[in-house]
Subunit: 253 residues, 2 copies
DNA sequence: TCGGCGCCTTGATCAAGATCAACGATTCAG
DNA sequence: CTGAATCGTTGATCTTGATCAAGGCGCCGA
């Protein structure tokens, strides 16, 4: 039941400040626009104000951006790279609650303290906002607030799916669901249907699916034996029987 | 792994319409005010408009309000009673993702189809809104939208806690967390500290915690033996060692 | 009052997945 | 290029919680 501690946790990786590379308020119309594009109503003046509030932070791979329990003065928006969000138990058991990518927001929950931790999975960039000014701006910009509500309710729906997975699915069903949720085909190789890249390690998959690394490995092997998938490397696989995989994910025997 | 089907599921309980008791648009400043009170900014004109949009629906205990997969034309607000929200797998395995009470909203996720089911746990009343007019009103009322975002992000935080519970906690830790999340003392008997009412049956606790009814029963017995709790009836218990229970819930050995 | 049905509890056994252990493969620093 | 560390796979065994089974209790209607 004990999960091996990640190096970043054991050696109390450097506090955020050490990873911060304070840049000038860069032009936020890129990331802001990407964020707002969801609902199609980008308001230029809002974006400029967002830009004025933003502080650009660059994170090395593995850097801890947020530590659960710390005071929570900031809200973040990812502009490049990817983060893992997780919660820990005192003995090191870890549950990864999600993977976030460019455009996603973090830390919206109105609480005085962060209720989860977040680390960069690769070299990443985030925009940091003080909560006060950020919420003031949001309060003045209905489209912004609308976009946040839209995104948050989608995240909630995803969380409910994950609860079903964690509470009621078998190991193979969990893995099948996970594989199908990953971006189906590599954007750099759009001509390779069924090719899936597994950018994360086994420990991360395990902690996301509520399993152990051994079970993750065994399930992948079982899937290969069954002909559901084939692998070219530990981090690259091909879905051979998408339909069968979908059935497993849905819990249909 | 197969969960016994609830009667309501087996006998395809009557569609919502059968349970609907269309009332006049009643005065919504009560429920509306309760909902908005969270952020303290109740706008009377918004509430009146809400009232004009609302359709009051009365549900008998066990009635199905929402069935996953059905077209989703409505948003709901609970005004009395309580609902369970859940997802099913084809073979009947059920994961209850939450219990909702007066003031809570349902069906906000912008999707053409409901992504979960919802049933009344007792005789309940909800206000029903067509999504179109409802979102139009919300778009015109920043405080309303703000309130929804606030609530939704809190629900998301709760969902992340539940993911930790389902993915990484032991049976006793799950039950301890659950007992501590319940309203600590009965409002009708405020003088009874540690008294907890368990309004739901074992099957619902089990499906909420990702366990079986037998395990729920055994864990409660173990807790009694350990002196953590004592029971007066299957649906009423007393927390005898809140501190020890809290340690279990937190996963501290 | 009796009988039946849900609901809860308890016991015996089983199995999925965890744990413990060993070893190859890959990566990366020097 | 080389060696250490990390990562992934596989095997043996164990444990937790699921499954199968039986019986008790309480509630409700006749």
């Amino acid at each position: 039941m004990i999960i091996a501690l990640e190096p970043s946790l054991v050696q109390r990786s450097p506090p955020v400040a050490a990873c911060v590379d304070r840049a000038q308020s860069s032009d936020c119309s890129n990331c802001g626009a990407r964020a707002l594009s969801v609902c199609g109503t980008a308001d230029i003046s809002d974006l400029q104000r967002l830009g004025e509030l933003a502080e650009v932070i660059k994170l090395k791979s593995g850097a801890v951006l947020i530590r659960e329990g710390d005071p929570a003065p900031h809200v973040f928006n990812i502009t490049a790279g990817s983060l893992r969000v997780y919660k820990l138990l005192p003995d090191g058991r870890r549950q990864i609650t999600g993977f976030l990518f460019a455009g996603d927001f973090l830390g919206l929950a109105i609480s005085e303290f962060y209720v989860f931790s977040a680390e960069a999975m690769e070299a990443s960039t985030v925009c940091r906002f003080r909560k006060g000014p950020f919420s003031a701006l949001v309060a003045r910009s209905p489209p912004l607030e609308h976009m946040l509500l839209h995104r948050t309710s989608h995240e909630l729906a995803a969380a409910q799916n994950q609860m079903l997975l964690l509470g009621r699915k078998t190991a193979i069903e969990r893995m099948a669901s996970f594989l199908l949720d990953l971006p189906g085909h590599d954007p750099t190789r759009p001509s390779a249907p069924g090719h899936v890249r597994l950018p994360m390690k086994r420990a991360e998959i395990a902690d996301y699916l509520g399993l152990t690394i051994e079970t993750v490995s065994r399930v992948l092997t079982r899937m290969k034996v069954k002909g559901l998938i084939s692998t070219t490397s530990p981090h690259e696989l091909i879905v051979e029987r998408p339909e069968r995989l979908r059935q497993h994910a849905a819990g249909e025997v």
